[in-house]
């Protein structure tokens, strides 16, 4: 029901953590991202502990890790709740992505091996094929992720990779699940990816950074446009 949704992605966070709190972290994380636990909902420790068949210790630890990933907010002596992704915080997230992934693209242009660049281009071609077959539906979901992921890893900067892939990554995933009804931009994204990979092949850090930043900025703008009226949560009832 909630496995990490098989990607091409290699570095699975908490990958080889057979410890109970590790497994609980993954399970709880996926439950939150999938919306099984709703945004804003309180995380009741005894109930969740029973649900996951663990004691409160490992569960609490899992919650703390999700706090670090910004999927959960915690107030001392009060408790933890699932974050609610307001438009405001999503836009903030995209500004951070712009900065970090822009730099990642620049570093990738400098450091990525020829071999990895070739694999990246392969990936792009696969996505292009999927896009043509499925009328552009594939791109926005998994394909885009993998592409960005590879570039980030290609930066060779471990800290940068951790920040993006271990922390912010899940926040982005959560947002995408919540807004999956909106789909868009896949052919344009394809073109932008094409330009980006060209810049990396040419070993042009400045161009790669600028293209990545524009790419993310445009995504941000399209989100802003799509959600500025249609708010995320259905606040009809209030």
């Amino acid at each position: 029901m909630s496995k990490p949704s098989a990607h091409i992605i290699s570095t699975a966070p908490q990958g080889d953590d057979r410890t109970l709190s590790g497994q609980t972290t993954v399970a709880l994380r996926e439950a939150i991202i999938n919306g099984d636990i709703a945004p804003g909902e309180k995380l009741n420790e005894p109930k969740l502990a029973e649900q996951f068949k663990v004691s409160r210790g490992p569960l609490r630890e899992a919650i703390r890790r999700l706090v670090a990933m910004r999927l959960v907010r915690h107030i001392p002596n009060v408790g933890a709740t699932v974050v609610t992704l307001e438009l405001q915080s999503i836009l903030e997230l995209y500004d951070v992505r712009e900065a970090l992934e822009g730099k990642a693209a620049a570093l990738a242009a400098e450091n990525m091996s020829e071999h990895d660049i070739a694999k990246l281009r392969e990936l792009l071609e696969v996505h292009r094929q999927h896009s043509e077959d499925n009328a552009g539906e594939y791109m926005q979901t998994d394909g885009d992720f993998d592409f960005h992921y590879q570039i980030i890893k290609g930066s060779g900067n471990q800290l940068l990779t951790d920040q993006l892939c271990d922390e912010l990554y899940h926040l982005i995933r959560m947002f995408r699940v919540q807004t999956s009804r909106f789909k868009s931009r896949s052919d344009r994204a394809l073109i932008e990816h094409e330009q980006l990979i060209y810049a990396i092949e040419q070993r042009d850090p400045q161009l790669a950074e600028m293209l990545m930043r524009k790419h993310i900025t445009r995504a941000k703008a399209s989100i802003k446009h799509a959600l500025s009226n249609t708010e995320l949560d259905n606040t009809d009832s209030i």
Copy 2:
């Protein structure tokens, strides 16, 4: 012995957390940053728990929070150790700072209130005075921090602020403590701060971003130069 070392800084992380694990987090964090617990040293849970007069529960939680701050590494079933700041990872840190603080400066140029900009300039003047009095010693330590801190907060981006001020901030502090014997660049930094504040006053995001990035890039270069031969830890013995 290990209070948060009084800054002008307002948003103290874990500030109003009177809980045991909160206090332990702060205490352990400062012990690590000050070097009371050496880089690479193992964090023995029973020993540390006794030392801090708490049980292992809160201590473990503190350790996990420091893992999120990247001050500590943890391997399941093996334990936690204080990070060792190799030159490599410090350079990585500065690349991330360049990206994030650059964007922060741009956002500050857009969003910072006139009042806050005025306060920022005041701060700069105070630092200039200190620098003249103390032959440039002050800048590199606390003054620089406060200045960057204010700009980051001025970005108005909460996520960005959290990432920089709650997480990476302490890593930078730790690095500075370990390299306090090197001092430098204070008058140049002052000039660069002056230019930066001017760009913000002029509401010029692009210029502000570029100046901040150059500022950090130069700091990175000077660190690289200073440490390329002189390694951090005294590996004489081996």
